[in-house]
């Protein structure tokens, strides 16, 4: 193959380079735009997003009783605290690992709403009279869901919720 056929004129190369760059940019933008639908198709579909909120009725839970409900596939502990428990929780900030006053963890003081997953590695803690105990590695939580003892680094997480009626809460999407 002879080189004579393939030589180019010097003044062409500037224009050619610009055209090449422009085409490359346009093509690259197209490829990026075209990949988005595929990537996004792996995000939760609309039927799952619609179930991302949970409406919970609070009727029938007596003081001292805890109920477990579901939100986004996770357990949520709803504890209706007795007056004694509310007072007791107000006296401390939990432990030095994650100190937090009880008032900042509740919207109405008798209702504690926390995500029922141990902040250590995600097991579901078991209910006892003083709070919760995680059977996996021994973390201990009080009746405000605060970590007292054990390997868990944080107090039980709080889901985003609001009271939409006296006896109804809505745990929101995010």
């Amino acid at each position: 193959m002879s080189d004579d056929d393939v030589k180019s004129k010097p003044e062409d190369s500037g224009r050619r380079e610009f055209l090449g760059k422009a085409t490359g940019v346009v093509a690259g933008a197209g490829i990026a735009a075209a990949s988005w639908p595929f990537i996004n198709s792996m995000n939760p579909s609309t039927d799952i997003l619609a179930r991302a909120e949970s409406q919970i009725e609070l009727d029938g839970i007596v003081p001292g009783e805890m109920r477990t409900v579901e939100w986004q596939g996770k357990p949520v502990f709803i504890l209706r605290r007795t007056e004694d428990q509310v007072v007791e929780m107000g006296t401390s900030h939990g432990s030095s690992k994650d100190p937090e006053p009880d008032e900042e963890r509740v919207q109405k003081s008798e209702w504690l709403v926390v995500i029922g997953l141990c902040t250590h590695l995600g097991c579901v803690p078991n209910r006892n009279s003083d709070g919760w105990f995680c059977p996996c590695h021994g973390s201990v939580y009080d009746n405000s869901g605060r970590i007292l003892k054990g390997p868990a680094p944080r107090n039980l997480d709080l889901p985003p919720y609001e009271f939409i009626a006296e006896n109804k809460i809505l745990i929101k999407k995010a």
Partner: protein, 410 residues
């Protein structure tokens, strides 16, 4: 970046390979746009694999769930409708591209020595593609999916002696059912990767014998040009044109290739009025129906796909190439194309007395074209030689006979 490439090059022939097989790869300078379709086929293969994998993240291969999962993809998965339409339109695009690719090969005689293995690996690829498409069509579990699969799997009952057992074995059940759907899904997912392997073999063969070209004569070295940038840019331009047509269908006429009846869930108690395969199977379906005997029809249909493999031996002319220098061959080619279109039309219609006759005549012509080729090609060569061959052919034939003499003398 350059340092990284150097590090790799010391351990792996990356740059050498890319230079030899892609950048500097010698390609005939006179290739026309008909040579774009191999690249397009590779592109559509990638498109189908990618869209298929993302669909498979949401599809459920179970008779009680399949149809619903497709609607879930269409309505609830983000951009699910787009990925689905890419895949369904892609199937038709794949066959369109492959049929044009095959037509190019036939017209220009690219199947002839030394490219027979390319033609045969291509033949194998076509069969695998047809199997993949057939199995894929069952997956939506619509009326046409189900009844199309019922009809085609029952054809295997024509196998002598063990026909019934073969059909049951194929289906995994006495009828097309959950067992069939599950295995078709698994195989439909598998086959494209086998196709990728066969494409690699196809390309290895290509790079050994190099591309043919429109004149049919092997060009001198000086008439080759490097693949990059000439044919990389030409392939990309062709891809742009292809995508325009393709996306028109995806975005504006996506249901064009989907049978209306397939929007009804499969009902094993009710056969649709009109069972019709996808367009790319129509000519072969017409041949199947034209032959009144079950075994005969199945053999005929199978033969009509396989017979292409015989082309290198059916063509007895020593005039190189295809239709370029051979007017009789060109006429046969056009007759064959028209005949396929007629067969396709017949395959889509419900049976009628007239259509049965038309179908049989068209089937006859289809096979006759192959059968006549040995005779016609030789007679044509005689006729061409009497008229006087063009100079380039004379030269080439002389060269070839000289080489043959040298071989004989050794």
């Amino acid at each position: 970046m350059a340092r990284l490439i150097n590090w790799i090059d010391a351990r792996f022939p990356l740059t050498k390979f890319v230079k030899h097989e892609l950048t500097d790869y010698p390609t005939p300078r006179n290739l026309s746009y008909w040579w774009n379709f191999g690249f397009l086929a590779g592109f559509v293969l990638m498109l189908q694999i990618i869209s298929g994998i993302f669909l498979a993240m949401h599809y459920k291969a179970d008779v009680t769930l399949a149809f619903d999962s497709i609607e879930h993809i269409m309505r609830e998965v983000n951009y699910g409708w787009l990925i689905r339409y890419l895949h369904s339109t892609g199937a038709s695009a794949f066959f369109a591209v492959i049929y044009i690719h095959m037509a190019r090969t036939l017209y220009y005689g690219s199947y002839r020595a030394p490219r027979e293995l390319m033609w045969w690996t291509g033949q194998g690829l076509l069969l695998m593609l047809m199997a993949t498409a057939f199995m894929g069509y069952l997956l939506p579990w619509g009326q046409m999916s189900y009844w199309g699969a019922q009809v085609i799997t029952s054809l295997f009952g024509a196998t002598p002696f063990i026909g019934d057992e073969v059909v049951i074995w194929l289906r995994g059940d006495f009828t097309v059912g959950d067992a069939t759907l599950t295995r078709f899904f698994v195989l439909h997912y598998l086959f494209p990767f086998l196709i990728v392997g066969a494409v690699i073999i196809h390309l290895v063969a290509l790079h050994y014998v190099k591309s043919s070209n429109p004149s049919g004569i092997n060009l001198a070295d000086k008439d080759n040009i490097p693949f990059h940038p000439y044919f990389t840019v030409k392939d990309l331009y062709g891809l742009g044109l292809f995508l325009i047509v393709f996306c028109y269908f995806v975005f504006f006429q996506p249901e064009f290739f989907i049978e209306a009846t397939n929007n009804i869930p499969a009902n094993f108690l009710q056969t649709p009025e009109h069972i019709v395969p996808e367009w790319y199977f129509l000519p072969f379906y017409a041949i199947l129906r034209s032959i009144p005997d079950l075994l005969g029809g199945v053999v005929g249909m199978f033969l009509s796909v396989i017979i292409f493999a015989a082309m290198p031996y059916l063509d007895r002319s020593s005039i190189p190439g295809g239709a370029h220098y051979r007017p009789w061959y060109r006429i046969m080619f056009y007759v064959f194309i028209v005949d396929i279109l007629v067969l396709g039309y017949v395959g889509a219609q419900a049976s009628s007395d007239l259509l049965i006759v038309v179908g049989r005549v068209a089937t006859f012509i289809y096979f006759l074209t192959f059968c006549l080729l040995p005779y016609v090609s030789r007679k044509e060569e005689q006729w061409l030689r009497k008229r006087g061959l063009p100079a380039e052919i004379e030269e080439l034939l002389q060269q070839e006979s000289l080489q043959q003499q040298k071989k004989d003398n050794v």
